[in-house]
Subunit: 329 residues, 2 copies
Amino acid sequence: MATIRDVAKHAGVSVATVSRVINETGYVHDDTRKKVETAIKALHYTPNEVARSLFKRKSRLIGLLLPDITNPFFPELARGVEDEMQENDFRIIFGNSDENMKKEKEYIQTFVQNNVVGVIASTNHPDTDTYRKLNIPVVFLDRTADNRPSVYADGREGGRIAAQEMVARGSRQITVMQGPKHIRPAQDRFKGAIEALSDQGIAFNVVKTSSFSFTEAGTWAKELFEQHPFTDGVIASNDIVATAVLHEALRLGKNVPDDVQIIGFDDIPLSSLLTPSLTTIRQPAYDMGRAAANLLVRLIDDVNIDNKTIQMPVTFTERDTTRKVNQHG
Amino acid sequence: MATIRDVAKHAGVSVATVSRVINETGYVHDDTRKKVETAIKALHYTPNEVARSLFKRKSRLIGLLLPDITNPFFPELARGVEDEMQENDFRIIFGNSDENMKKEKEYIQTFVQNNVVGVIASTNHPDTDTYRKLNIPVVFLDRTADNRPSVYADGREGGRIAAQEMVARGSRQITVMQGPKHIRPAQDRFKGAIEALSDQGIAFNVVKTSSFSFTEAGTWAKELFEQHPFTDGVIASNDIVATAVLHEALRLGKNVPDDVQIIGFDDIPLSSLLTPSLTTIRQPAYDMGRAAANLLVRLIDDVNIDNKTIQMPVTFTERDTTRKVNQHG
């Protein structure tokens, strides 16, 4: 591969001159610039990004921290981030935090050591020094933090909608699954749901869960119907759990939605392929990823931005695990 | 944040000495080394990875190129790669190729520009110059390439097993879904399945598909039952497509597995939560990712390795979309 020295030799100029042309760091005569550009083309020279980042003190790398890429909600987010970043010629260093503060801190630290120019993080701890003390732009994704840059969906509103739609469709023995306590969006949904049920004077049971893992979801679904056998409506903390609840309800010989209605959260790609297909509260994951990346790019470019907190809509996505509203409304 | 200059001042030595200690690039007296180490600790100094990579000419970054993280098979692979890399203190630059050669080339190029020390790639084009001319280690994941380092599962054998198990369970009007032509593992599975069916003298139909996308999967499932209404067994090209076929079969009022048996490929996490749960050919995705990362780390460390091509087992994972063998065997 050609080096900067080869280019300098080919163009008959000094290495410093080639560097000035590449990094736009000082005056170079037009003729000289042309010579250098011709040499770059002739030798198929690609500037080393690391060297360039030392010269310009700016890399084209950003750090992306997500809780767990094997939860089907996050690949959609990640894909949105990547597509937008790719179009803007940025690359992504990626890590899973497992919602673990220590792991998260280590990742952010190594992102910085690798000279990322910005960070997108789904964190439960936006207020820690890990983020407060970063002197590069940070966008919180799927999480909020005061008035700092963030892209998120309104989980509380989503929870309210789920509860209202379920009641409107006739369920009166509702069980709400409380997602993991340390995951903020899960708690927002939970709060929204129980608020709306309380507002309507509807009693409900709560089943506590401690993760979004596929393997544990089955256990909670079993517990739910053992502890609350007369449940006729389940508000699940996400689509993975909802899928497990559906699976268990059918295994017990229940008719869904006639005996029990189920509403999930997220709208992961498989939701529409379940039988019956899953009614859920949709978050526009891919668009959220895109929006976060776009916001970060603008922050990196130091564009003047009016609105740094972007709330995306949640939408009731009616499929076949809920009854039609005119049957009961 | 403390700089190398602060450390030098604190320790009462030159910047060059601090650099020698950090980068292990030359002799430093034990007493001096201790002074520098004490200063590093006192000031919480973290060496800049970019500067270090220029000194040592080695970064702690590797590039990971996957086709599409929103296909649920790949997050498992990615997670395996990341967990192993994290334990070995490497970080990952990540990209989706969409099985598109141009995008793939651009990613590999920017990986190199960012001084990655190794690459893991799921590519259909291992023999192009993009990989041949790289002078850093490459491990092909989920793909093979002659005797070059790779970790993959035996798709052909997987296809054979699917066909044999389906025939053993009584299907005689089998439709095989041919996965995307440009994706090698999909074609291996397809070849294996039709070989095994031909060996047993069983006639079959073929439905062609051109991607693994969720949205298109539904269309192909519809086509399948329109074109071949008497199908009593479907060998799907992966679990996404199998899920869509199951959904369509149930929508048409067919009993699965009594009227039609379905076998998928991959064993994505949701497969066991479908109703009926999906019988599939399992690839150990997470372990494959781990193995690829482990192999790459050893190649980077220049360890002498006997076996650079690691074939992982595929296993018939019997669930409820196939009949029990004693009913028909």
